[in-house]
């Protein structure tokens, strides 16, 4: 459905079958499909875990934790069944990559889930897909059914003595449900309220059983690692940041799109070469490097390698791969407001600082943007965000606070330009927004 793009700098691993009809299982087999899982069937679980660990694959869901390491936390013995849970809730603003994997390469997801299962000793996997992606759920359903009919799922997969079941599961609209513990709650038929940790899902997860939770892209990368080897994969990116990733380029770019680039690819180059530069030749104002939760970068900061560690060094995060580019016509107050409006809408409401903080900040930013801002509001926005930071029940609170703090810090001047009843300098006319009402 979504348009595919390409660029010579791309290194196609996860996306290598995109646009090649791999939803068809026979076509998938022609394109090296299901080879990795057969190889994994001949490997010791520890060997799989080590292979993935050494590949330097880090979670593509946002936090960037070493995947093999995460798998190694699953206890070997467990009285309760173990599970693999594929996180396809993709809802981080700026992110639209998992969608392409489900659309073009659903069997790779199945393969990745089975291999994770073999690695940790699980025999059941769930693929959770956000509710808005109904057409992808249908693609996945068919892929799973095809895999069962070929004997790749179910009893004695590929004629081995191993069993593996995979089930699809659809969400119904909630960003917070992408958070791993809320995801489990949702899958169990509950409100998406995160769980207290510890215990971590790897030890106590779905229905109390040890559970590996990985992002869709992470799991889709695994078969390639098994086939190509840890070293090959690790060497695609800088140290400790193995492989490639799908970068979702959006915003004020000439050629937005999802591109697969090696980890550590230079951001500036990504914007100006891959993305075709700023729309209509305008000037760059800021970049969101990894989805709406990540601190924003100013033009001076974009000469940076897009890997987890380099971005941490510049005070931001690689996040989920959503690169949103803002040009000079963008009102940063409006941008901060839209981000906060999102988090206010998506906060699960469980904990005080996130529930109240996002609402308060949204109201203040709304008034501020509408021309009712006071000088002390600027400090107050900062103060409130800092009071949320690190104190909420789950990282959503941080995700709301971090970009806000960075925007106020780096674009304070723009806030000041909104003071004293002045209309927004970027709006065609000073549009007054309605204040939020409680539902």
């Amino acid at each position: 459905m979504a348009d595919l793009v390409s660029h010579p700098d791309e290194v196609r691993v996860v996306s290598k079958r995109f646009g090649k009809g791999a939803t068809n299982i026979d076509r998938y087999l022609e394109l090296d499909g299901y080879k990795a899982v057969q190889k994994a069937l001949g490997m010791q679980p520890d060997a799989i875990v080590n292979e993935v660990k050494n590949s330097g694959l880090r979670g593509r869901g946002g936090a960037g934790f070493n995947t093999g390491m995460k798998w190694s936390f699953v206890p070997k013995q467990s009285p309760k069944p173990k599970y693999v849970l594929c996180n396809g809730d993709e809802s981080e603003p700026g992110t639209c990559k998992d969608r392409l994997i489900f659309e073009h390469d659903p069997h790779a997801m199945i393969e990745g889930v089975i291999i994770a299962g073999l690695a940790v000793g699980a025999t059941t996997g769930y693929i959770y897909i956000r509710g808005e992606y109904r057409y992808l759920l249908e693609i996945m359903q068919k892929a799973i059914a095809d895999a069962y009919s070929r004997g790749y799922l179910g009893k004695n997969i590929f004629g081995s003595d191993r069993h593996f079941d995979i089930y699809w599961h659809g969400g119904a609209g909630a960003y917070e449900v992408g958070e791993e513990s809320a995801l489990m709650e949702s899958l169990e038929g509950k409100r998406g309220i995160p769980r207290i940790r510890p215990p971590f899902p790897a030890v106590v997860g779905l229905w109390g059983g040890p559970t590996v939770i990985n992002n869709a892209e992470t799991l889709a990368s695994v078969p390639h690692i098994i086939l190509g080897g840890a070293d090959w994969y690790a060497n695609l990116g800088p140290p400790k940041n193995g492989g490639t990733r799908l970068f979702c380029l959006s915003g004020h770019l000439e050629h937005p799109g999802v591109y697969e680039l090696p980890m550590g690819y230079n951001l500036k180059r990504m914007i100006y070469e891959v993305g075709g530069g700023i729309l209509n030749g305008r000037k760059l104002k800021a970049v969101v490097p990894g989805g709406s939760s990540t601190p924003i970068l100013s033009p001076e900061e974009i000469d940076v390698a897009m890997d987890f560690d380099s971005l941490t060094k510049v005070g931001s995060m690689l996040g989920s791969g959503g690169v949103v580019v803002l040009d000079e016509t963008t009102c940063m107050v409006k941008f901060a407001l839209r981000i906060m409006k999102f988090y206010q809408h998506e906060s699960c409401g469980w904990c005080i600082p996130c529930r109240e903080g996002t609402d308060w900040l949204k109201k203040t930013l709304t008034r501020f943007h509408a021309g009712g801002g006071l000088k002390k509001d600027i400090d107050n926005i900062q103060y409130l965000s800092e009071n949320m930071l690190g104190r909420t029940f789950c990282p959503l609170g941080d995700a709301a606070a971090m970009p806000t703090i960075s925007i106020v810090k780096k674009f304070r001047k723009e806030f000041e330009e909104h003071l004293d009843g002045r209309p927004c300098p970027f709006e065609k006319q000073g549009k007054i927004e309605e204040l939020p009402v409680m539902v």
Partner: protein, 158 residues
């Protein structure tokens, strides 16, 4: 409550996927809503009874998820994303355009019951912004003019 065979067979299949009945709740509610338009009191009671939950528990869950609704809405639910990527590419203007075109605001339904309008959060189409969904169909790289023809298509298709 009589529901379609497709619903029943999917429901029966889903029950076999999980160790607890309750786990089918979220997808089931969405399928039920697709079938009867919204989650009516009767529908809620039906699902609660099937899954051995109280109506309250089902309502608690429904009210959490933004795609689930206990109020009827139009045949075509037009959902315009205005989140950051779409915002930068004219998502808000698109929303305003639809408001004017359909003569309704956020979460309202046209008098003929054909269209509802909703401003939504990121729908995963950021690289093809601005984007909208009508029911489950994606429409991307939109402009007001393109949106008009999209709406027209639905209007004629009904």
């Amino acid at each position: 409550m009589r529901l379609s065979e497709q619903f029943e067979s999917r429901f029966a299949e889903m029950l076999t996927h999980y160790p607890t009945k309750r786990s089918v709740l979220v997808p089931t509610l969405l399928y039920l809503q697709d079938e009867i338009g919204y989650l009516s009191d009767e529908g809620i009671a039906e699902i609660a009874q099937r899954l051995e939950l109280t109506d309250l528990e089902v309502r608690n869950v429904i009210s959490y998820y933004s795609m689930l609704t206990t109020r009827p809405r139009g045949k075509f639910n037009v959902q315009i994303c205005t989140n950051i990527a779409c915002l930068l590419r004219g998502g808000e203007e698109l929303l305003e355009h639809c408001e004017a075109k359909l003569g309704i605001g956020h979460k309202r339904t046209t008098a003929d019951g054909l269209f509802s309008l909703e401003e939504v959060e990121c729908i995963g189409a950021c690289s093809w912004a601005p984007a909208a969904q009508v029911n489950y169909d994606f429409h991307e790289n939109l402009t007001p003019a393109k949106m008009d023809s999209v709406l027209e298509k639905y209007k004629n298709a009904q």
